[in-house]
């Protein structure tokens, strides 16, 4: 189907189904239970999962295929966001032109940076991209404030001169982003017994675009172009000796992955019309590197898994506080309850960084291929078990989102 082989089609379908039913999959616990803390099925986080998924998929096209480790990819995401918000301010609240402009702008920016940076390879390339991104961040934060609104971030105001649309709605508020009238923020809530599921228009648009990006990434991975990029990774010198100029290929990969980042940035701004400079900081660039490696660089699904993993920690673990802990352990006798809270306390809430750091280390140490390898190991183990005849084990695969 779609020009993919059977295995890839299955993967695409699995991802599609996961994305489609994410509001259910990510909300396994009843809304009023103590475990509801771990539910991730609310619009903002689901949007983030797929948007950062796109970002990581794009990054993987460069890093996974060519081996060029860019440490400045967040700059393209930032450029995309700024372009989109400016489009909302000046043209219309429709997300399509905004997303288009953000992809184009990010692409141009990537072309420029890529053209210069790709003159070097290895860590020299990484430092060049890092330097460009840090320069963009520092300038966006200070000197370029007229364009970026600096620290505060670029926001919509009530006096934006919107050419196709109104500056403010009838009741005096800022209009919201939409897709031909379908508001990105509109959400249907579905109460099913104690469960609450939320279906958000913005999420489904993002998920759709993520699937398209994922499909495109598969096609790139399987194309002769992708093969060429892999050849660059395994031995660029040999490629050069055969008289082939590899630069256009790597540059194309760089621009494509920059456009993916711009797309992610544009989508982010479409879901929530704000663009902050810290989106371009080196830590943000580092984050996408972590997502990709953590999930499994060079694999198709890995980056998406990694993105979900990191965003889940950032948004779920940081919100657990001592009160919540006491609720969890309430069933225990008092002394034990306090002891448990005391033990868990450093790892949650303000300690979520610590938990994330420890998990990074564990994954890198024990799963060199990233989480995907972990999933494969478990799958292989399960298969072996099943072959032996004991099929009472449950498959525990990482959710794609």
């Amino acid at each position: 189907m779609f020009g993919l082989d059977k295995k890839d089609t299955t993967m695409l379908l699995v991802v599609a189904i996961m994305a489609l039913f994410a509001p259910f999959i990510l909300n396994p616990f009843p809304a009023d239970s103590a475990m509801a803390q771990f539910n991730a099925g609310y619009p903002d986080l689901m949007q983030r999962f797929v948007i950062f998924g796109i970002f990581a998929i794009g990054f993987n096209i460069l890093f996974g295929l060519t081996g060029y480790l860019s440490f400045g990819h967040a700059a393209f995401l930032g450029v995309g966001s700024y372009s989109a918000v400016w489009m909302f301010k000046l043209l219309s609240m429709n997300v399509i032109p905004a997303i288009l402009l953000s992809v184009v702008m990010a692409g141009l920016f990537a072309l420029l940076i890529g053209f210069v940076s790709l003159r070097r390879s290895g860590i020299y390339f990484s430092i060049l991209t890092l330097a460009f991104a840090q320069m963009s961040f520092n300038l966006a934060y200070s000197v370029l404030t007229p364009i970026t609104n600096g620290e505060t971030g670029l926001q919509l105001t009530l006096n934006d001169p919107r050419v196709l649309g109104v500056s403010q709605t009838a009741d005096g508020s800022i209009p919201v982003t939409s897709l031909f009238g379908l508001e990105m923020r509109s959400t249907y809530e579905m109460h099913l017994g104690p469960w609450l599921f939320q279906f958000n228009a913005g999420y489904y648009l993002s998920a759709l675009i993520m699937l398209a990006s994922f499909y495109l990434a598969i096609r790139i991975f399987r194309s002769p172009f992708g093969m060429m990029l892999r050849a660059v990774k395994s031995n660029q010198q040999r490629m050069n000796y055969t008289g082939l100029n590899t630069r256009p290929y790597t540059l194309a990969a760089f621009v494509i992955s920059g456009m993916y980042a711009g797309l992610a940035g544009g989508l982010m701004a479409s879901m929530d019309p704000l663009a902050g400079a810290e989106r371009m900081q080196w830590t943000a660039s580092g984050e996408v590197v972590l997502m990709t490696i953590l999930g499994g660089a060079g694999t198709l699904i890995g980056p998406v898994v990694g993105a979900g993993f990191i965003k889940y920690f950032e948004n779920i673990f940081s919100k657990i506080n001592d009160n919540v802990l006491h609720q969890w352990f309430a069933f225990m006798p008092d002394g034990l309850e306090d002891a448990m809270v005391f033990i868990v306390h450093p790892f949650i809430g303000k300690g979520w960084h610590l938990t994330l750091g420890i998990l990074f280390m564990l994954v890198v140490i024990f799963l060199p291929g990233g989480l995907v390898e972990g999933g494969q190991k478990i799958a292989a183990w399960v298969r072996k078990k099943r072959n032996k005849g004991s099929d009472d084990t449950t498959t525990k695969t990482e959710p794609a989102e």
């Binding site: 290895g122 060049l128 080196w282 420890i358 990074f360």
Partner: protein, 343 residues
């Protein structure tokens, strides 16, 4: 003229910190081939050695003073450091005053141990792994280290003063024939520069003039051959890792009075020190030191008002701009060898 001299001093001082951190990074990369993203964290731990020694020296017992009230209106509990009660108020206060220099003695064994444990416990398993994995695992370690420090010391900066004799500033201007106050520079920063020069000199002479150093240098050039000669090069490299950690740590110890240490100071230096290492040339020790001072001085010049009014925002980007220019004109950095870290 005086403004330029002043900025050169500033640059040398900033450069000292950059050079020390970059030196350690390069030692680790040159010997073990490991990209250590936790190096900034080692610098931070060094600074917190100062804080810890200060805390230990000011460990206090409380006496209730009825004549004063605390913020709740209860009698005030006055804290007296044990050191002051043991050695008398004067000597005690003097010991506390000198807590940063004392911390050097404390930091050397601590940092050597931290480096040793890090290498044996973690880094050792990553020699054969791709650089990306090394970056990820050491980055994770850096996060863990800084979060642990944050857990015990909080997120706010902690004031750690230099001894009283080093407070205030020295007037170079008068010495050089300028008017008074034209070029003044804080004593402690001068001490820092001297200290950095000492450490850098120490590391170089250690490598240059000792047998151990000679073997290490040989190992850096061709690890395999040295190994074939029956020399246990791994063990020496482990020790070099400890030394690199100690260099970063000592840079941190002495840095504490310049800017109050906080838990994320390592991350602030991390990116910069990588830029320094790459500009200097991966694996080149003199390159790292040279680039450290060069970038420090350029950064200081860029923050001059005259320069800033010419190119707005130049002080925000100068380091990166220089890095880009150097990498485009001298592909392997200032003093790097060909073919290092290019794939």
């Amino acid at each position: 003229m005086d403004a330029i001299l002043l900025q050169i001093l500033n640059g040398l001082d900033k450069g000292s910190a950059y050079a020390l951190i970059a030196l350690g990074l390069t030692l680790i990369f040159g010997t073990l081939g490991v990209v250590n993203f936790a190096h900034g964290a080692l610098f931070m731990i060094g600074a917190f050695c100062s804080v810890t020694v200060q805390r230990i020296l000011t460990l206090s017992f409380e006496t209730v003073d009825e004549s004063q009230k605390d913020f709740l209106g209860n009698p005030l509990k006055v804290k007296t450091p044990y050191v002051e009660s043991w050695f008398g108020p004067e000597t005690g206060a003097a010991i506390i005053d000198w807590s940063v220099p004392i911390a050097i003695l404390f930091a050397i064994p601590v940092m050597l141990a931290v480096g040793y444990i890090m290498e044996r416990g973690l880094i050792k398993h990553f020699y054969k792994r791709p650089h990306a994995d090394q970056i990820l695992v050491t980055f994770g370690l850096a996060i863990v280290l800084q979060e642990v420090v944050k857990y015990f010391y909080g997120a706010n900066p902690i004031p750690t003063g230099a001894p009283d004799v080093f407070k205030g500033s020295f007037d170079f201007g008068v010495m050089l024939g300028f008017e008074a106050n034209a070029i003044i520079y804080p004593y402690w920063r001068l001490v820092y520069f001297g200290f950095a020069a000492l450490i850098i000199g120490g590391v170089f002479s250690f490598l240059q003039f000792t047998t151990f150093g000679m073997v290490v240098r040989a190992g850096m050039a061709d690890r395999e051959t040295v190994g074939l000669l029956g020399i246990n090069i791994d063990r020496r490299f482990t020790i070099m890792f400890g030394i690199a950690a100690a260099v970063a740590g000592l840079a941190g110890v002495m840095y504490a009075p310049i800017n109050s240490p906080n838990y994320h100071m390592g991350m602030d230096f991390l990116v910069l020190s990588f830029v320094v290492v790459v500009v200097g040339g991966m694996g080149s020790l003199p390159g790292a030191v040279l680039a450290g001072f060069l970038l420090g001085i350029l950064e200081s010049f860029a923050s001059m008002n005259e320069v800033k009014s010419l190119i707005p925002g130049i002080d925000q980007i100068i380091i990166y701009l220089v890095a880009i220019l150097i990498l485009l004109t001298r592909p392997r950095g200032l003093m790097g060898r060909k073919g290092v870290m290019e794939e």
